[in-house]
């Protein structure tokens, strides 16, 4: 509204506007008119002072010329400003596009820099620990999808000693029933609390033991039934692999000593040895137990077709810069001294690599 009024006033006061032209025309008629008593006094005054009117008209002419010239310049400047604004807009769009590319590239550089730092730590760890053959890093994420939990594991980086033949897991998914997943997490939490040195009041401790026993019983028996009902190897699906691996985790938690040995006849029985053999070797699920346990899980699986003799794997979770990783390193157990404290040795190795990551 204000702009409208301003524009109207500017148009009205333009030296060549109809109103101003009309007024100037009227003044010109005054120049050629003789005084008359019937005219108002100011008109008679004007007629008598023609030189003043002439001066006014000359000033009006000069003003009109100056005004028109300046207005042309202003108009041209406005056009230049408009063009400049248009160029700025185009440059801004180009800048946004370029900065997007730069940001993208800086993400790539950050990723590359992280990989270099990881590789340095992995290399230092492998080269400075005689029994370590190879170390691998996997990132992982856990997502609920409808009634199941999907754990996605993606290969990130590795370092191997010379002459070591080892295969990496490129990418893998583990499917677990959502309710079972929650029960397993509860079992792990109870097991950790009861295994710690924290003093728990006796009634509470009894209740926790009962819950732990019931939890393991429920899941173990459920999975045992599920896997014993598998008739053929071709019927085995992704859930069966994780069920089998979780059974090995549960039986490990339920044992007095640190190491449990087993073969393809141990868990499902001799009549299901073919099924168990496939569950044991058909899919790499060793690191799943470390993810679920959120702690060190050591394993040795000797595939019938690919004997690796004394190689055992140690997996443990580590969170680096808010990303979950599983670090897996392999050791040559034939090199282990009988007098060595295995737990102390494994935890020292873990501490070594953690320190290397912290220094990077």
């Amino acid at each position: 509204m204000r702009k409208l009024i301003k524009d109207a006033i500017l148009k009205l006061l333009h030296p060549l506007s109809p109103i101003v032209t009309l007024i100037v025309g009227w003044i010109l008629t005054v120049l050629v008119t003789l005084p008359n008593d019937s005219f108002p006094n100011f008109i008679n005054e004007m007629i008598e002072h023609k030189s003043a009117i002439m001066t006014f008209l000359i000033l009006w002419l000069i003003f009109t010329v100056i005004y028109s010239t300046l207005m042309d310049k202003i108009e041209k400047l406005n056009q230049d400003i408009h063009q400049a604004q248009e160029i700025i807009r185009q440059k801004e769009t180009q800048l946004d596009h370029t900065s997007g590319i730069i940001l993208n590239r800086s993400g790539d550089f950050a990723d590359f820099s992280r990989l270099l730092r990881f590789n340095d730590a992995l290399k230092g760890f492998t080269e400075n620990n005689t029994i370590v053959e190879c170390v691998q890093m996997y990132s992982y994420s856990t997502k609920r999808v409808n009634d199941k939990v999907v754990i996605k594991v993606v290969y990130d980086s590795n370092y191997c000693s010379d002459g070591i033949d080892i295969n990496n897991l490129a990418q893998c998914y583990y499917d677990i029933d959502y309710k079972d997943y929650n029960t397993i997490k509860k079992i792990v939490s109870l097991w950790k609390k009861l295994s710690s040195d924290v003093i728990i009041p006796l009634p509470e401790k009894d209740s926790m033991i009962r819950m732990l026993v019931d939890g393991i019983n429920d899941i173990y028996r459920k999975y045992n039934n599920s896997l014993r009902n598998v008739k053929n190897i071709s019927d085995i699906n992704s859930f069966h692999f994780t069920q089998y691996r979780i059974m090995t985790l549960l039986l490990r938690l339920a044992r007095r000593q640190s190491i449990t040995m087993f073969d393809k006849n141990t868990i499902l029985g001799k009549d299901k040895s073919d099924i168990e053999d496939y569950l044991l070797n058909g899919k790499r699920t060793g690191i799943l137990n470390s993810i679920l346990l959120e702690d060190i899980f050591m394993f040795k699986y000797t595939r019938n077709s690919h004997k690796k003799d004394g190689r055992a794997y140690i997996a443990f979770p580590i969170n680096i810069a808010m990303q979950n990783y599983i670090c897996v390193f392999s050791i040559q157990i034939l090199d282990l001294d009988e007098t060595i404290d295995l737990e102390h040795e494994i935890k020292s190795l873990r501490q070594d690599i953690v320190k290397r990551f912290e220094k990077k």
Partner: protein
């Protein structure tokens, strides 16, 4: 971990006909084709900022 827990678990394995062999003996461990091991759990997760 209280012994009562292991006793309860032993009952479950016996009922299911599962015979497991545990060891802390490294020679047995070296000879085993397959084994799994866990240790005293950590009190807190490993986090690097």
């Amino acid at each position: 971990m209280p012994d009562i827990f292991y006793n309860e678990m032993d009952k479950m394995f016996k009922e299911l006909g599962i015979e497991l062999e545990d060891t802390d003996d490294k020679e047995k461990m070296k000879k085993a084709d397959n084994f799994i091991a866990t240790f005293t759990p950590d009190t807190s997760p490993i986090v690097i900022e």
